[in-house]
């Protein structure tokens, strides 16, 4: 069954014809060629695929593309103003050496931004660790990811993002 689907991705209209079973992450990667969003597992547990749908962080491997009909989707590609000016969360990841292989990073950054906003830019270490429950990293040991998120919260607030 092919179905037309239309949504906004990073502020721009995006549409296509998909099968009912096409996952949102497949639509992003294979139809739109936006490969920043990763797939790390088959069990909805790793969070490498996290994007924002209508302002909420979701696992795009566990959502059908057709479920995003009419939605506003933000992916890792939609964060930086330019190649020179990263989003404060991306900048904090870079400053704090919060990535090694980088595979988990797009999902980490998307989850982290949602977390900071939901907690009104005020987070402590325990909250950050608990909120990262849905994101797995096999390299860093999380410590620098936690540091980066704690550093990004006030930076996001002053940048107004």
């Amino acid at each position: 069954m092919t179905i037309p689907v239309a949504m906004t991705v990073n502020g721009k209209p995006a549409s296509g014809k998909v099968e009912a079973r096409t996952l949102l992450v497949q639509f992003l990667r294979e139809h739109l060629g936006m490969t920043g969003t990763h797939v790390g597992c088959d069990t909805s547990q790793c969070g490498a695929c996290v994007v924002h749908v209508d302002g909420r962080s979701v696992k795009s491997c566990t959502m059908l593309a057709v479920q995003a009909e009419g939605a506003k989707v933000i992916t890792i590609e939609g964060l930086a103003e330019s190649a020179e000016k990263l989003h404060p969360m991306q900048e904090a990841f870079r400053e704090n050496h919060a990535l090694q292989c980088g595979f988990c990073t797009p999902g980490m950054v998307m989850s982290a931004i949602d977390m900071v906003k939901r907690h009104n830019y005020q987070l402590d270490e325990a909250t950050v660790r608990r909120e990262l429950e849905g994101n797995l990293c096999r390299c860093t040991g999380y410590h620098n990811i936690v540091k980066a998120i704690l550093a990004a919260a006030p930076a996001m607030k002053s940048a107004g993002v």
Partner: protein
């Protein structure tokens, strides 16, 4: 994943019609259980009826002494609801400890109780608070709703529309989460309502169950001391790589005491 016919009805009546007479049609709420199942080809529905577009199914209302939660209401919305936090803080706590933030942003109460995973959290609250499950065709009491492993009183095509929780005088939920999945290895919900004291255990057995001996003891003396010596038998409890039946039986007592202490705070 095998392909299927996808439908996104706008009303409950349309959803019921789409499911009627189709043996292989399945409703979908948050999809956080259904989609992983489809990805593993453990199910092959002919049709998936997405309940996400039905406005009347989502939302939280306080009606008299009850908090009524629509079937399509996401875990994150229950966790952050001022109404739920005000009336039954233990229920908001429970919802806020399901899985991870992304699971809570999609998963729903209707999908969770319809699925009746033995390690799911909500069945504990539904049974301990003696909630009423409303469907498009009728009502089920909590004690009659959960039938066994992944089994409920719902008939084919019957949809959970809302769950009505009576306010509790005292209530708390304590879960010992599986450190990998966050599902309950054992979760105990203790509640004191106008209808009496109830103790519901999830995660430990094939299906949520009540512990009568603890309920009777707590009805006389609502303190953790009252249940300290009440052991539950390991027979019939779940045993897997995460925990033996004996360990789960032990955890029921520990979580029950912690829940009573939390409810008394």
């Amino acid at each position: 994943m095998y392909d299927f016919h996808y439908h996104r009805p706008k009303t409950l009546a349309d959803a019921a019609n789409l499911l009627k007479g189709k043996d292989e049609a399945r409703p979908m709420s948050g999809g956080m259980t259904l989609i992983p199942t489809l990805k593993q080809r453990l199910a092959r529905p002919s049709d998936v009826v997405d309940l996400g577009g039905i406005k009347e199914l989502a939302g939280i209302k306080v009606e008299g002494n009850n908090v009524v939660i629509g079937g399509m209401t996401r875990h994150a919305d229950v966790a952050s609801s001022a109404d739920v936090k005000g009336a039954i803080p233990a229920l908001a706590y429970l919802a806020g400890h399901i899985g991870d933030p992304q699971v809570r942003n999609r998963g729903t109460i209707g999908g969770s109780i319809a699925n009746n995973d033995p390690a799911a959290d909500y069945p504990g609250a539904v049974v301990a608070l003696n909630a009423t499950v409303t469907t498009n065709t009728g009502r089920h009491t909590a004690d009659n709703f959960f039938k066994g492993l992944f089994e409920t009183a719902l008939s084919d095509g019957e949809l959970v529309t809302s769950v009505s929780f009576p306010k509790a005088e005292k209530a708390a939920y304590m879960k010992f989460p599986n450190p990998a999945s966050r599902y309950a290895m054992v979760g105990v919900f203790v509640a004191k309502t106008a209808g009496g004291v109830r103790v519901a255990v999830t995660g430990a057995g094939p299906c949520v169950f009540r512990v009568k001996a603890m309920e009777d003891a707590l009805a006389k003396n609502f303190s953790s001391d009252a249940v300290k010596d009440i052991k539950i038998p390991a027979d019939g409890l779940n045993s897997d790589i995460h925990a033996s039946a004996e360990y789960r039986a032990h955890l029921v007592n520990v979580m029950a005491r912690r829940a009573v202490d939390a409810a008394n705070k």
